[in-house]
Symmetry: C2
Subunit: 664 residues, 2 copies
């Protein structure tokens, strides 16, 4: 018997080799094979089922998460999975858990900030999960401004200990994942105080709970901070609150790779460069950019497949209605998001290279590219997470009413994704950092210091300030050089305009504050240029597979021209392009949509997501949407009985006009 | 003892009479007094508490909703509330319930589409709630395209009955609120078939459940469609699925005001104009616009108050950090939303007048303004709901990490609000209707038929196509006439440009489909003009109260100039304004933010929302945010025990390296 496939017709229309595109998407054949194998392993294991997740109460959801985490760990041991495979398994289990923080933050913090000795002591027990750790930085009153943290770690030379303390309510640690219920240990960030002197914020390893009975140790108050956005979603995580009442830890639990406190209480620095910390930030943020492309591609996959199933209007002579994916309004909203998913994937891949490059330079004491790399990752983190959060919601709306059902998978995807916009640097704060770097770059133009890396184009600012776009016909917009120059000119002109406005202020900081909204826009223009450039650079390499490169070129153009259309005001008002050229870009965009259309389903198939991972009735591989929606509905607990609980107390008395006497 | 008020300093800075502004916001002193009284009544009644709502399981939440609905009905009877007061009570209870559909859709459908006789039979029992009704239109496979519905109502002359039937899976009724568990009756939309002939979709009153035991009647399958977006939110509503297996109803249960089926099975029309139906649409949509201003103002109130509490960065000499509301980046995101809340309020008020006007004309058989009114309400429904959904999420992000907590109130507000973008007309489909009307208007320019109402400016298209904005200094942008002309010119030029492009297609329908994305943008420009114009018109009236009018003028300018900045590409590329004038508008906008700043808290106080209604720790009137966040956290069920349920099965075996032998 043939498997049911409502999308078979769509799939046969594809003009490229989907299997080869899967490898492009995964990054390499090796990465593809691991992902594919682990995804199927997870999908076929009943413990990992998640289709009922949004119906669980908070307590049941948390217990389910503990169960999955334990089961995943068991499978990792049984199957002797590599670190890479284990990480893919956690990814495909797709349920935020304390293990994410243990592996993703606690262990890296010790690796990055601990001395050799500390690493030898703590890492082996952490790798075996004989302790479970989290990362306790943010406080109730302090997020973005790490230097404003209030928790104190005061050295007591009498006992050779630090006293960790929460002096105010707002100093309560607040938000750390895994802290509330699961972690036995934490890396705690606190102000280091020796001999009455405040040395700023440092990291300390603190045991929170007994390894015997999991009860909090004396002086420690710890709990969960409560429900968060959505059902399911991040409610599987025990984001926690933590207060210290003069908790003592041995001196050697301060992370001392960069700074130390001696037995006598003397504070000193080692010769390890402080800049190492930025290397870690680059790493974390490139991961966030790749995560953005995952979340976005998932939403786009659901919306694209459902748009090919859903039909509305346009029936002729009693025939079927039109697939909504054929409407230009649907295409003009959906296809730029599809293109963005690919664009973010490739810029994330490039960031991964950047991280390796920066790390090698740091090891050779070369800090020359560090601030540019830092600005670039900050900006791309901000750009991709903001765009992805908006895009998931747009995909939900593209699914019409049914996108509002939990079984569409989109509400939970949105709710679980949006914190990416505020964690690891608030997106607006990050853009201001980028803007600050851009203003510095503009100020140094003409000096010895040449702009490097992603700001290299600024070196041609003089040309970019007066160049003219020479597009005369719509198809001229397909030339990569034309696109890059327009984006470079726009970014350069916006930065230079900001710098000019800034120069009118006698106090530069005041000017920066006053003009910050404009500066944010200039930073966005710069970041969009990076994404476009890296996509184009990717296309300059050899890409095997029939029609694969061609599809990528189309998507690259869709990405660039849709951004241009959306920010037309920037391009036209800075004189980079004429209104007529803007209209031609829009015309070309429409033609590109027509080229994407027959390949749309295959382009989302290339993400290679299992139905388990997608967790969406609307996004099912086989397109059998309506029968499954109907089937899913009956699983709601409210359908356990035909007459609902509460009928006798609250409905019947209304109908029978007996409310006055009813006891409510 | 003085009540705690962290915002007292902010409140004392206000430059206008807040009490008078409350009346402006409410629409009249009468409306203010009713709202104020009922809001307090609901807030003080423990049955209506809702701070624990996001923690309830689906079943408990639904039962809680039934309880509140019954209690509200009891209070309405006991206090002999007027219809207006009762409606305010349901509003402030603020939990979607079957009663919303009974009063808001079932009863109006009978009133609008039933004959005198039918009204006399059904309305008295409905008013007393001896029956509970819902509105069953959309189907699993059919939403926007009402003419595509599949459910059939076949007349059987033998028995003088209609046979209601669901011929396919996709014909299952799907989504109607109140249908799943509570309703005893429904107005069902089905294709009327007499003597083998299909007369299109008509409404029928169908009993679904026994009035004795609430069991579904024979042939009826009914249930809930399952979890929806968010925790709490719309999960209090039993949106339902319904299938008919040849269910028979008497002939007189077809709603026969406009069309009838006689005893012999003859289909005929009465002399009641079919256009009446549009009158109802105008009514429903003006209500949606007012709802948008409520939801938006609520989110803005929370974000504004919290932005005055939250401090981050900028501490000098150990002093407190800067209130985030003082940052221009925060202001440039928040204040346009504050201005939008007021703008939507006033355009909603105007729509209310429009509805009265249209109704009076219909009664006098004057259909001349109907299609313009219909296009205008469709467009404003789309514009305001899209903007509000986006704005709620933006307000959540403006609250940083803490906005992600359910206790902030914003996640639930978002989840409960977003369906407004897809119900009562999908927002994109509606904009295409507006665009179609605009193209018709352009085509008729120069003919006998003069554009009326909100399209009257099109009569001056010739002038608007070539006029020049004469702004030379930033403050020139404060003149209402300058703003209106810029918006009119932009809207006219975009419509005319679309019409020109359309004329190049030999098949106009093909052209409309191909250019639909551009047409949507032209429709948005037209709708934004309406909002701006109505705000300005409102300011031309007498407005009492010290400084009240001045504040409204500032907000009106913020609204107009922020829209202009956001859509700068439209204004500049159509040549309505120069890039330089665009920059001046932006400069003026920054100055306006400085004027809003001291009044921000008072401007959200003017919404007069109780803490109960806001249901947000971040938006508390007294600003006591941190202590209450901390207090709320401990209420989560996960904090019932210090050691979580699941520790012994799933955490301890990991820590003790006993996973291999553990039974998972």
């Amino acid at each position: 018997m043939e498997a049911l496939d409502y999308h078979a017709g769509e799939r046969s229309k594809a003009e490229f080799d989907v299997e080869e595109m899967k490898i492009v998407w995964a990054g390499s054949r090796h990465a593809y094979e691991i992902s594919d194998r682990i995804a199927r392993l997870v999908a076929s294991d009943p413990v990992f089922r998640k289709d009922n997740r949004t119906m669980l109460s908070r307590k049941d959801l948390f217990k389910d998460t503990l169960k999955k985490a334990a089961h995943a760990w068991k499978r990792i041991i049984e199957l002797r999975l590599s670190e890479e495979e284990a990480s893919r398994m956690r990814f495909f289990v797709d349920q935020p858990a304390f293990t994410d923080l243990h592996w993703g933050m606690f262990i890296p913090a010790i690796k990055g900030q601990g001395t050799e000795e500390q690493q030898q002591k703590w890492l082996p027990v952490a790798y075996k999960m004989q302790i479970i750790g989290c990362y306790a930085q943010t406080e109730l009153g302090h997020g973005s401004n790490v230097q404003g943290l209030e928790t104190t770690a005061t050295f007591d030379p009498q006992t050779d200990e630090f006293v960790i303390h929460s002096p105010t309510l707002t100093s309560s640690k607040w938000w750390p994942g895994g802290l509330g219920k699961a972690s036995t240990h934490a890396v705690v960030y606190a102000r280091l105080i020796t001999d009455g002197q405040d040395h700023g914020v440092h990291g300390f390893i603190v045991q929170l709970r007994s390894l015997d009975d999991h009860l909090p140790l004396p002086g420690i108050t710890v709990g969960d901070i409560g429900m968060k956005f959505g059902s399911g979603a991040y409610n599987s995580m025990d984001n926690g609150v933590l207060r210290f009442d003069h908790v003592r830890i041995p001196r050697d639990q301060m992370l001392m790779r960069v700074s130390q406190v001696t037995r006598e209480g003397k504070y000193m620095h080692s010769d390890v460069p402080r800049q190492l910390v930025y290397g870690t930030m680059v790493y974390v943020r490139q991961q966030i950019v790749l995560d953005a492309s995952c979340a976005l591609s998932r939403a786009v996959c659901i919306a694209t497949r459902y748009s090919a199933v859903r039909r509305q209007f346009g029936s002729q002579n009693g025939g079927p209605e039109t697939q909504v994916i054929n409407y230009k309004t649907q295409q003009s909203r959906l296809f730029p998001l599809l293109a963005s998913a690919y664009a973010f994937r490739f810029v994330g891949e490039w960031l991964n290279w950047l991280y390796t490059d920066v790390t090698q330079r740091l090891q050779a004491n070369d800090f020359s590219t560090l601030s540019e790399a830092h600005a670039c990752t900050a900006g791309l983190k901000s750009l991709t997470t903001t765009a992805t959060a908006d895009a998931i919601e747009e995909c939900r709306k593209l699914c019409g009413g049914h996108g509002y059902l939990s079984s569409s998978g989109l509400p939970e995807l949105f709710a679980v994704y949006v914190p990416a916009c505020t964690y690891e640097g608030d997106n607006i704060v990050l853009l201001l950092q980028v803007a600050r770097f851009l203003m510095k770059t503009v100020a140094q133009l003409g000096s010895e210091k040449k702009p490097v890396g992603t700001t290299a184009y600024m070196g041609r600012a003089e040309y970019l300030m007066q160049c003219h776009c020479d597009v005369q016909r719509a198809e001229d917009w397909l030339k990569p050089s034309v696109i890059v120059e327009a984006f470079e000119a726009r970014a350069a002109r916006m930065s230079v305009a900001c710098a000019k406005s800034l120069s009118k202020f006698s106090n530069p900081e005041e000017g920066f504050a006053e003009l910050s909204a404009d500066l944010v826009e200039a930073a966005v223009a710069h970041c969009q240029l990076i994404v476009v450039s890296k996509f184009i650079e990717k296309l300059q390499r050899d890409i095997p597979g029939k029609g694969v490169k061609r599809q990528m070129e189309i998507l690259c153009n869709v990405y660039a021209l849709s951004i241009l259309h959306k920010h037309l005001g920037d391009f036209v008002s800075t004189g980079c392009i004429t209104p007529k050229q803007g209209a031609l870009a829009n015309e070309q965009l429409r033609l590109l949509y027509t080229q994407v259309r027959p390949n749309a389903i295959a382009l989302v198939d290339a993400f290679n997501y299992t139905d388990h991972y997608l967790s969406s009735v609307l996004g099912r591989y086989d397109g059998n949407v309506y029968a499954k929606l109907y089937e899913e509905a009956w699983k709601d607990p409210l359908n356990d009985t035909v007459v609902p609980d509460g009928y006798h107390e609250y409905i019947r008395p209304i109908l029978k006009q007996q409310l006055r006497t009813a006891r409510l």
